[in-house]
């Protein structure tokens, strides 16, 4: 069933997602439906970061920032739009099974799978501000990709930059 949903998601993502679509999907963190917002930062019912997409396709500011930072920090291994590369997994699939906590732990602590047949190493990003200052945003973006809520490429329309964003960015980036 999940596989079918995923396939459907890929097909949908190749087109522009129709306005007002309701996503009857769950991912590694459960139901992604956005229930509360802290100045544009959306969370699901369990408090995990999530995406919110308006009827006209406008994505939240933090989903957009997630796209930018993903493409800068993660793409050179995990491929454009979370699609994977010849040597790193497609995160649009990984997030179907990983919880937010597992995602966070893997990014911060890294991962090693070194054997005779393969040398897969994910660096620990725990001290990389370009990643950790935006970890929830990257998660939000990938969650939206994984659930088929947004397609490939740069989100066309995004919500305006919240007032609190720049101050938070400055504080975190130093």
């Amino acid at each position: 069933m999940r596989r079918i949903l995923r396939k459907a998601a890929v097909v949908v993502s190749a087109l522009t997602v129709p306005a007002g679509t309701v996503y009857a999907v769950t991912d590694g963190s459960g139901d992604p439906a956005a229930v509360k917002s802290d100045d544009g930062k959306w969370a699901d019912k369990d408090g995990n970061p999530t995406f919110k997409i308006e009827d006209d396709g406008t994505v939240g500011w933090y989903t957009y920032v997630g796209y930018l930072r993903y493409s800068s920090e993660c793409m050179h291994c995990h491929g454009p739009d979370g699609m994977g590369s010849s040597y790193a997994p497609a995160l649009i699939h990984s997030l179907q099974r990983l919880t937010y906590a597992e995602f966070f732990a893997t990014v911060a602590g890294g991962k090693k799978d070194v054997s005779a047949s393969q040398n897969l190493v994910m660096p620990a990003e725990g001290i990389n501000k370009n990643v950790m200052c935006f970890i929830d945003d990257i998660y939000t973006y990938l969650r939206a990709r994984s659930d088929g809520a947004i397609g490939r490429g740069r989100p066309e329309k995004h919500a305006p930059k919240p007032v609190s964003y720049e101050k938070a960015e400055d504080e975190c980036m130093g």
Partner: protein, 609 residues
Amino acid sequence: MKQGLARQLAAGTILSSLLLVGTANAQTGNGDDILKMEKNAANVVMPTITYDNQRYSALDQINASNVAKLQVAWTFSTGVLRGHEGGPLVVGDVMYLDTPFPNAVFALDLNHEGRILWKYEPKQDPNVIPVMCCDTVNRGVAYGNGKIFLHQADTTLVALDAKTGALVWSVKTDDSAKGATGTEAPMVVKDKVYVGVSGGEFGVRGWLAAYSTSDGKQVWRGYSEGPDADLLVDPQKTTSLGKPVGADSSLKTWEGDQWKIGGGATWGWYSYDPQLNLIYYGTGNPSTWNPKQRPGDNKWSMTIFARNPDTGEAKWVYQMTPHDEWDYDGVNEMILADQEIGGQMRHLLVHFDRNGFGYTLDRATGELLVAQKYDPAVNWATKVDMDRSSATYGRPEVVTKYSTQATGEDSNTQGVCPAALGTKDEQPAAFSPDTGLFYVPTNHVCMDYEPFRVSYTAGQPYVGATLTMYPAPGGNNMGNFIAWDARTGKIEWSDPEQFSVWSGALATKGGVIFYGTLEGYLKAVDAKTGKELYKFKTPSGIIGNVMTFEHAGRQYVAVMSGVGGWAGIGLAAGLTDPHAGLGAVGGYAALNDYTSLGGSLTVFSLPPN
């Protein structure tokens, strides 16, 4: 050096006896041997085939009339899955090749269809893997003075006894904890081995260095940015476009200390002219990719360097893309050829830059002769200013619409051609003195580029831009294989390819040009017309360079397969055009549908009579 010594001491007496063997070899061998050996077309003693980087072989047993009969003679699996760039060497009866991380080196016996004579596999900290920007590639080993030289991923340069594979010496050239890595193929000239560094996406400060082939001692090191003394630049004697560069030519073009993390990596190919006694190479992108964070021309990133191989002193420099705004590294090979321009024989240096311009310079003086687009899709600059009296002489005329500096941070500059991977990346072109043409594997891909602020942490990616790549407008092909006249700057013929051509070309006296494709085909085309004469699908996509050699009276053609590299990132999932109408979406195939991972060597020959 210290670390290398410690390692040798730790290995104890067995190693010290091997050390003696190595020293003996070093004394009997000399650089003049290589000059002689490179003239013997049966051998391929360097990754660039010859010092001039022409990738031309005088072998002609395989020619345009019989290449269609080519068949596989033998194959060899490397046991490594990642991207296999570069290609093997052949010295006498032995073939040498290496793999991506873990950088295993094999010596294969050509008298016994590739039986393994020895294998060397270094122990490296796997933490180096994620600081390699674009896959864990290694572009080959070098031969000289009885030794095989390997620049490992972790920037350890090792010398191995070519007969036994025993470690003779090893030296650390940089610090992989800061994101510096070794991916390039070294070059040996006389008694020195030359290596450079990768890591432009991690804020390394690029350099080229010479080490003694006998004991691994550093002889000189010339940085890409910084004070004149670090650059090995003489303010009066070193010239750019015919004029002395003057004092602090690099420092003046950076704000503050940004040059210390300023990029200018040197991971491309190196060439050597024994008559002029100069070595040539290019430097990569300035760090970060966000141009707003590094005002100025950022010299000498994106630059062609001509250096004295003995002292390292720079004779001339030419910066192709001042203040890069698109990641157009200048590291591609410098091909040395002598051709007539305007009725005069010139010593030429021909360079197909990532920025989409094919440059022809006088390699003795650095004089700029021709600069023309080698893909009509190139749009970021209208032309290179060729007016000697102009204040912007030698500079590209940048189109404001495609300037990511002008569009600014957090804004998306759309439709820039070429994409960051360039009209050509490291995959080297070839030159045939028979036709006078250059044969160039190219990318036909454009991009959107969105720079933003990024903070520097040693050993972490330092990129600062988001890219979306897609095929150039007006077609579905993402690559072309072209023939180029460097005297006029014109394309003679162009064969479209579905994917970027990411394989180094080979020109032969037999009138056949060889190259590989990302789907995995080895292709042979007619040197005059580009007509396809032969193709064979190897086990995986080809990002390696085709080579040819002769053994026991027969000519062989060999190429490494093993898809990966940057091509494995952008193309594996397929590219989509965000600006195309709905109908076009999905029109660009994913490489995943054509090939899968796996390093192997395929050796071809004509059937025995």
